[in-house]
């Protein structure tokens, strides 16, 4: 990224505005024109680059970009119509007829409605789940192909191709912004929420990836979840639960990494660094999440995050309640990762020995290829018990399994620390 603060502000403006403008244009010209809309947005950014580099960033930057993109879109439609004129009946007439001469929105207008609709188009049932989130990240959030590829550990060419296919599909089915109703609406909302959740978990990974992109992914996920939760047509207890979950985790993001990008475990985090206002938003959403007919995994995960957020220290955390919430979550998801987290919570409640016993049971059933998180949990608990040799062996195993550079750095540091303690105390 860039170190120039002014350039960083413009980059953030470009990213944010391109999502808003994409939504704004798609609503007016139809999701079937996705590819053209995207080109028009890029046209507007190039125009901004060429004008602003000389004259500076205008005060009404958002309105400037909107107007510029709309002009580019009209140009592109005219050009397309000119080309088409020779081949078939002219469509420009209808195109121009459906274009309302609306005013350009200013910075003050949040355009929430357009973004929300775009979000629901991205979750179109005709698209695959992995495509939906790619499309969301690109169009609603304005991430570049390269940023999406790095966030999802994918190749840029693969991301680009997924986008091309998605656009072709939307064009082929001539997708329009139409609000689904009844069951279709709640199904569509489920996939919107699932995609937002995936966006959040991708950004919230403990280490690895571009820190700036990761933090922005989480902030965007929170914004989108709140968008869904706030609108009368789309709000639901699950949407609030997801917004709560994201807010309660994201509030801790400044405390999760050191300045040089080293992960800080929950136990070692400086709780003064947690963002109180984002936490408060999380608690508010959690309150509103109550009253649904079903208890979703997001309700339970948000509850766990809230118990952590409310605790003054790691020791003074209500581990009984957390283990209970993990019990419910395990019953709901049957996920080994949940069971692993439950074992760690159990260690805090009943001691490292109890946690280890649970881990051993889990290790016997562990089917996932990646044993790294399991080995790291073993190492942590052995270390707490002063069993240095075992801790060292597990840190080494976790390090061996890790592929991510930042993760390797973290594990190597823990391994070195375990070794130096062993040497200092004369333990062999």
């Amino acid at each position: 990224m860039t170190t120039d603060p002014a350039a960083a502000a413009v980059a953030e403006l470009f990213r944010r505005e391109s999502g808003r403008i994409t939504a704004w244009l798609l609503r007016r010209y139809g999701a079937g024109r996705y590819a053209m809309v995207e080109d028009a947005v890029q046209d507007a950014l190039v125009a901004a680059l060429r004008a602003w580099r000389i004259g500076g960033v205008p005060v009404e930057a958002s309105a400037w970009l909107h107007a510029s993109a709309r002009n580019a879109m009209v140009d592109r439609l005219r050009r397309a119509a000119r080309i088409e004129r020779h081949a078939s009946a002219l469509r420009l007439g209808e195109v121009v007829a459906v274009v309302p001469d609306d005013t350009v929105p200013g910075q003050a207008e949040p355009l929430a409605d357009d973004l929300l609709m775009l979000l629901f188009v991205c979750a179109h049932p005709a698209l695959e789940a992995s495509t939906r989130i790619t499309l969301m990240a690109r169009s609603v959030c304005g991430f570049t192909v390269a940023e999406i590829a790095s966030a999802f550990h994918d190749k840029p060419a693969a991301v680009a191709q997924r986008l091309v296919r998605a656009k072709a599909k939307l064009t082929a089915i001539d997708a329009r912004f139409e609000w689904p109703e009844g069951v279709a609406l709640s199904e569509r909302r489920d996939s919107v929420l699932a995609a937002i959740h995936l966006m959040f978990t991708t950004g919230h990974r403990p280490i690895g990836g571009d820190q700036l992109v990761d933090a922005t992914l989480c902030a965007e996920a929170l914004r989108l979840a709140e968008l869904v939760a706030a609108d009368a047509r789309t709000r639901s207890p699950e949407a609030h639960a997801l917004a709560a979950l994201i807010a309660l985790h994201h509030a801790r993001h400044s405390a999760r990494l050191t300045r040089d990008g080293m992960a800080v475990s929950l136990a070692d985090q400086d709780r003064m660094l947690w963002d109180r206002s984002v936490l408060a938003r999380g608690f508010l959403h959690l309150e509103r999440a109550i009253g649904g007919e079903r208890l979703s995994r997001w309700h339970l995960e948000a509850e766990i995050a809230a118990l952590h957020a409310a605790a003054p220290s790691i020791e003074a955390t209500d581990w009984h309640a957390i283990v209970r919430a993990y019990d419910d979550l395990l019953a709901l998801t049957k996920s080994p990762a949940v069971r692993l987290n439950r074992a760690i919570a159990l260690a805090w409640r009943a001691g490292a020995r109890a946690g280890l016993a649970e881990l051993k049971g889990l290790a016997a059933d562990w089917r996932s290829g990646d044993r790294g998180p399991l080995d790291a949990a073993f190492a942590e608990l052995h270390e707490q018990l002063g069993e240095r040799e075992a801790a060292e062996a597990f840190w080494a195993r976790a390090l061996e399994a890790a592929t991510n550079a930042a993760e390797r750095r973290y594990l190597a540091r823990r391994l070195a620390a375990a070794r130096s303690v062993a040497v200092a105390t004369g333990s062999t």
Binding site: T2, A6, V10, V46, L49, R50, I54
Partner: protein, 117 residues
């Protein structure tokens, strides 16, 4: 001291391949260059020119004919200009040499403004 005008020749589509973050960075580079001139009192202005072809007007007999300007058919145009203050062509060229424009495929046409006083 004299004023020199820097015409920024460019192909607009040369910038189309950049990502938004790169574009923001490039804006920052131009602004930093202009700012460094400004602090030395060496910048007298600069503006973006519109991307239309412009007009060329000629007398034809007793009429005036207005036609599209020279950029109607070409892919390259003058995207804008800066005016710098220097005491020689060489000094002006030295200022222009650092302009980021040259790093992004553009050309700079440097002309001295003929000062009458």
């Amino acid at each position: 001291m004299a004023r020199y005008i820097l015409f920024l020749h460019e192909r607009p589509e040369a910038f189309a391949r950049f990502s938004p973050a790169e574009m923001a960075r490039i804006i920052g580079e131009y602004r930093a260059w202009a700012q460094s001139l400004r602090t030395r009192n060496a910048l007298a202005g600069g503006e973006k020119l519109a991307d239309d072809p412009g007009r060329v007007m000629r007398a034809k007999g007793s009429d005036v004919v207005v036609a599209d300007g020279p950029y109607a058919e070409s892919r390259e145009l003058v995207g804008g200009y800066f005016i710098v203050i220097a005491d020689s062509y060489d000094a002006a060229a030295a200022l222009a040499r650092d302009c980021p424009h040259l790093r992004y495929g553009g050309a700079i046409e440097l002309r001295a403004i003929h000062e009458l006083a």
